[in-house]
Every structure is written in C-alpha cells, then in structure tokens.
Amino acid sequence: MNTQSITQKLANPTRFMSLSGAILPWLSVLAALVLTYGLYLSFFESPPDYQQGETVRIMFIHVPSAWLATMVYALIAISSFGLLVFRHPLADVSAKAAAPLGAAFTFLALVTGSMWGKPMWGTYWVWDARLTSVLILFFLYLGLIALRSSFEDETLAAKLTAILALVGVAILPVIKFSVEWWNTLHQPSTGLTSSVHLDIRIPLLVMALAFTLMFFAMHLKAMRNEIMRRRIKAMQRARVDRVGASSVASAESSS
C-alpha cells in the first residue's frame, strides 16, 4: 500500500469522497474566517492610497481574482494532462468542476478592473494588453465550457475538452506576448514585492490566501457534486436496464 502515491490513492472515488468529506467543513470554515479577516483588514485597517484614494480597496478583490483566473487555468491544464496521459479517474472531475469557477473569477477580475479603471483611467475599458489577454482567457474558459456541453458522451467530451485546454496552454503565452507587444497601459504587476507598502501588502496577501482557500473549498464541493451526479446517473441507468429486462421477461412469460 505504501508504494502508492497520494494521487494514486485518490484515484478511488470512494476514498476521495470520504477524505474530501472530512476536509471540506474545515476548509470552508477556514476560508470564511480568513476572508472575514481579510475583508476587515481591507476596509477598516488599511489606509486609503495617497493617489488612488478609497478606490485602492477595489484592488483587494481585483488582484486575488486575477491571480485565481490564471491559477485555475493552470489547474485545469494539469488535470487535462492527468486525464490524457495518466487516465486518472478524478482528473476530469477536477477539470470539469474548475472551469466555471475559473470563468467566474476571470469575470470578477474584469468587472472589478473596469470599476477601478473608471475613476483612475477615466474609462471603464481600455484596449490594454493585460485587459485584453484576460478577456481572451475568459473566452477560452467559455470555449471549454461550451465544448464540454455539446457532446452527449461525457467521456468523449472530457477528452476533447482536455485537448482544447492543452492547446490553450500552448497558445496563451503567444497571445500574451502579442497583446503586450501590441499595447501596454496597465501598470506591470508589482506582485507582492516591497514597492507596495506593508499596510496594503498585508491585506492583499490575506485576501489572496482567502480567495485561494475559498476556491479550493468550492472546487472540492463541486468535485463531490460531480461524483455524486455520476453515481446517480449510473444507478438510474442500471435501474432502467433492470426494469427493461424484467418487463421483457414478463412479456415473454405471459405470451
């Protein structure tokens, strides 16, 4: 047993269900606590920026969303690789559950960014490189969701969506490079380097952690839902088969 890695052990859905069921409540509570603390820090403890004023607080939502937008795509790509190469049974469940969440965070990053852009840049939308590449990332998410929903056969849909996700990984850097070359207005990401004052940096860090925890809690929940949905579907199919067989049998015996 010890020779199995964690990912191999998790390949058993029942084991995954019991483990995730044990983790999920703790993770959710932790995410809620960190999020509450982060929101408190961002709204009451951190000072308004000397240039941006109170609008700097939009950053506390915007930056974590933008961070998740890319991280979730990376997660989908790794899951897709896991599905196509290792045929891990949970890889597709993970990729399927992550796609709408990633699209939602990307959308949130775009909306909060444009709300910040109106007072700062004087317009809701500019055709700047970062905004454009995030918008295209959003289109890729929509493509993943749309492609999956247009096949009846779920295993086929999973494999084709995985191909698209990996093609996206190959092309995203090229897209990012080309739009950056095309036009740049957005300030380069400072990340969490020392050019950001501690009073802003700490709430930002806490919020980034809170959003990441929140995503993993939602992702686990969505994965559990997906596994249950598949089980119910399998049970329904088995029952249809059973009822169909017995009705044929009764028809034969009565004739």
Binding site: L84, I136, F139, L140, L142, G143, A146, L147, S150, F151, E152, L156, K159, L160, I163, L164, L166, V167, A170, I171, V174, I175, F177, S178, V179, W181, W182
Partner: protein, 222 residues
C-alpha cells in the same frame, strides 16, 4: 509519402470540382468588406486607415466559414475511418487536409484581398506587404482552424462552437499581420520583423494543429 500526395490531390480536386465552398468564401469576403463602409460612412481617409484591419478580419471570418466542412464529408461517408485505419498516421492526414484547405480557400482569399483593398482606398505602397502578410499568416488560420474543426466534428451546433473555439486562437496572427501592414504604411519600414514573427506563428501552428486534431479525431472515432 505518395499517400499524402494522393490525399492532397484528391481534396484539391474535390474543392475545385465542387467549387461552391471557395465561391461562398470569396462572396462572403466581398460582402463583409463592402458592408463595413456602409456602416462606417464613406470617408475615404477613415477607410484607408482601417483597411488593414477590415481586410484581415473579414478574411478570418471567410476562412472560418469553410473550416467546418474540413472533415465533415469524409466523416459522413466513412472515408475518415478508413484513413484512420490506414498506414499513414492520422497527423499526416490532418496535415494534408489543412494544406488542401489553405491552397483551395486561403490562397484565393489572399488573391482577392488586393482587389478589395481598392474599395477601401488602401495606400498603394502597402499592397505588397498586405499580400505577403496574408500569405504568411493564412497557414496559421488553416492549421489552427484544423484543431477547431476536429474538436467540433461530432458536436451538436458545431458551426457556432467552432467560431468560439478558434477565433481567440487567431489573436496573435491578426495582431502581427496588421502590424506588418501598418509598419509599411508608416513608411519607416520595419514590417520585416512582424512578418518574421508571423512566419514563426504559422510554423508553430503547422506543428501544433495536426497533433491536437489527430488526437481529437481518434477519440471521436473510437
């Protein structure tokens, strides 16, 4: 290798004898380019400024129209399955398909572009770079579009889905195609660099497209 040429020749012959696909794409290209001035106003200065963008985007859409049919006919009559079972790897089959699409649809559209550029009052000095940029960029359109065509082969509502999947992938091609023309228009030169990057994108697409689409086709024919 002879199988490759046979397949390519067959697809080109089919495209030529049917004719309708190329004709439709060319007609679509003409109509989109003709409609835009009606929406934007007849100001020739404005039109000549945005002509590179119009010519490129309308060409993307026109090429997209014919992409949906790339594998469809062969899938319907079962010849695609025979090709998948044959000795030639499916990747090479995909290369032949995309190459046939480029030769039968891409090239006619590229040749139509300078004629349509007259309608948009494009500066005569940019004509050469316009044709060159389209010529270098259109293989990327065919080979990236191949991925979309393969992924949506047996999808419900395939056509619209194809556009949603493929158009975001065309962003780099579009940007560098137009930047080459704009560099030529500015008169300072420098379009060479954009054309080189465009060539790199096309070569990348020639590698990525067949691998991804062959995988997608295999999964759908299992």
């Amino acid at each position: 290798m002879s199988a490759f040429w046979t397949l390519l020749k067959r697809d080109l012959l089919l495209a030529m004898r049917e004719g309708s696909a190329v004709g439709t794409a060319l007609g679509f290209y003409l109509i989109v380019v003709a409609l835009l001035p009606l929406g934007l106003g007849p100001d020739l200065n404005l039109l000549s400024r945005i002509a590179p963008g119009i010519l490129w985007i309308a060409l993307l859409l026109a090429a997209l129209l014919s992409l949906g049919r790339l594998f469809e006919a062969d899938d319907e009559d079962g010849s695609l399955e025979v090709m998948a079972l044959g000795e030639m790897p499916l990747e090479i089959v995909a290369v032949a398909k995309a190459l046939a699409h480029w030769l039968s649809t891409g090239i006619p559209l590229v040749l139509a572009a300078p004629v349509l550029a007259i309608l948009l009052n494009l500066d005569i000095n940019a004509y050469g770079v316009l044709v060159l940029s389209l010529l270098i960029g259109t293989p990327a359109i065919s080979f990236l579009g191949l991925i979309g065509a393969a992924l949506t082969l047996r999808a419900k509502k395939g056509g619209l889905l194809l556009a949603l999947l493929v158009l975001p992938l065309y962003v780099p091609t579009l940007i560098f195609g137009i930047s080459a023309i704009n560099a030529a228009l500015s008169g300072f030169g420098g379009f060479y660099a954009s054309l080189m990057i465009l060539g790199a994108i096309s070569m990348g697409a020639v590698v990525l497209g067949p691998i991804a689409s062959a995988a997608a086709l295999r999964f759908q024919m299992q």
